[in-house]
Symmetry: C2
Subunit: 365 residues, 2 copies
Amino acid sequence: MNSNDQTLNHGALGGPVRMAVDCMGGDHGPAVVLPACEAFLSRHPDAELILVGRLDALRSASQWPRCRLLEATEVVEMDDSIEVALRRKKQSSMRLAIELVKPGEAGVAAADVCVSAGNTGALMAVSRYVLKTIDGIDRPAISGLLPNLKGGHTTVLDLGANVDCTAAHLLQFALMGSALVSAVEGKPQPSVGLLNIGEEAIKGSEVIKQAGELLRSAAANGHLNFYGNVEGNDMFKGTVDIVVCDGFVGNVALKAAEGLATLFSSSIKQEFNRSILSRLCGLAAWPVLKRFKTRVDYRRYNGAALLGLRGLVFKSHGSADVAGFEHALNRAYDAARHGLLAKAHERICETLQAMPVTGVVETLK
Amino acid sequence: MNSNDQTLNHGALGGPVRMAVDCMGGDHGPAVVLPACEAFLSRHPDAELILVGRLDALRSASQWPRCRLLEATEVVEMDDSIEVALRRKKQSSMRLAIELVKPGEAGVAAADVCVSAGNTGALMAVSRYVLKTIDGIDRPAISGLLPNLKGGHTTVLDLGANVDCTAAHLLQFALMGSALVSAVEGKPQPSVGLLNIGEEAIKGSEVIKQAGELLRSAAANGHLNFYGNVEGNDMFKGTVDIVVCDGFVGNVALKAAEGLATLFSSSIKQEFNRSILSRLCGLAAWPVLKRFKTRVDYRRYNGAALLGLRGLVFKSHGSADVAGFEHALNRAYDAARHGLLAKAHERICETLQAMPVTGVVETLK
């Protein structure tokens, strides 16, 4: 394969969706990934899987329908450095799974999308190295979903790939997020909010103010539905379809939300376990509590997209259980089924051609 | 008064605690502040209040015991700019309340602490202008509490005063937070975590890495109990006593948590209201649900400290109700009662004398 190949794998708008799965990644590896794949296959008769990992670990899947195995002799561990993942484990299950979504000489890849629960830094670095970014995108971003008060979800990016971002990067994130939501959810002009510490345009750091200028300018040219600044609570309110932020802030907000969710569920449990009477109350309320639990279950939101690459890569939470990993597979399937890659590429090219970002940033300086 | 006065008002270790209250601030003004003050006074026989505001609005309090009124002819509105609050409303209730904690020529102020629910930007700017920062502190920070899994709370700063911070600022926040927790909670060496997107020292932006160096160096000299990097979820886990971050990240994390808490409570309500059967379940579980609600009630955590000033100022959430504002009064009372100001001053002087921050930062560059 030629790593500078500019051809894009245009995904699976028709025919089966072919998915490469890194079976060795995450805290639990095949013990979680394989049962999730089995459940996923039974629910998606038009999906085909390529399971990548140590052959002895994958043996139980050898007879599954619509499923092939690909041997990987190495595994990227959760605490391996990017250096190790990139330079010393070229036969890892993560790397081989990513290589499967890279188009070959005929412009077609073996798989439409790849899913891994492996360590985020390594997954991002290897994906970037193997797949390269699409034209006009400097840095890939991690995009995830958070539940919101409107009963839907908010797409948030970046969730941790980029700790230091320029205004131009934030604009690119907005374009990638818009492409994702319009492709997968069918909203032609999803709204974008810029995460800030106040709604007024004069709030925030210099980078955020510049990003606001860029986003307003893209909106004025009709390339973006920019709502304006939003605050931390808007992610859960559902004020906008997409919230854009740098990876440091996004990661902290995501993990803070996870922490608070854990605090809530543990406090509820403790209160219902406090005495025999409380337990009886809990028993009476059980059907309702269970519905509530399902509704706020963060496993339903597992599966983050690595956007901006010349191939679709999805990341599952390292600690995901079987249900969680299956949600990541669902998400990856949806993106491939809707031809996200081609649509994102098209949208980004159009916008950036009409509005060369470097120029705009220069005039802002 | 001489605005360059270096004397510090050493607070109220003995005798009554004298508190200045801006009665006009917040979304509800006197309608919330006065009932909260009345409840607070009845529970704190050693507290004295100076209520600041329009006299007609304060009339109902004119006969309260241990209470004086101070007329203010202007009010800083919630959407007033900093400029307006600072330059054009010199007779505002906010400004007069803050001036009451500024030491006079004899080194003693009329009040030990001031509380306002007014707009954060204005409160910070006016406090800084009137009171000045203490030696060694470049910028004041906003410090608040979040509930944690250990049943206690985590002190987090900065929550929004400073959007662009250097490593030296983060060190100063760590020192101020340590002074607060050791004074008010009686822990001699509270642990400090640096908010980051991973536990390893190599993670994060350049500023965060430099801040890690500074904090480790302060810890090596015995001036700080530095735990290391923490992540967003650690704020709610209770991994450390104090979490330090820049104001942008802190504000987003705080508001994200507020947003998620709202989503949770609204989802619980919806599920219990879904049908007659669900309502009966809710009725049966009511005593337990109520205990849970009390436990996670964010009003209990209302009351943020503006740290680093030559006077104690506390900020209530603008939308706080009576119970919430009373919590802010409680928090302000505790800080004054424990002589926070003097203790913070002492701790910061000692550390910075032993470890001149500018020098350390230079060597890191």
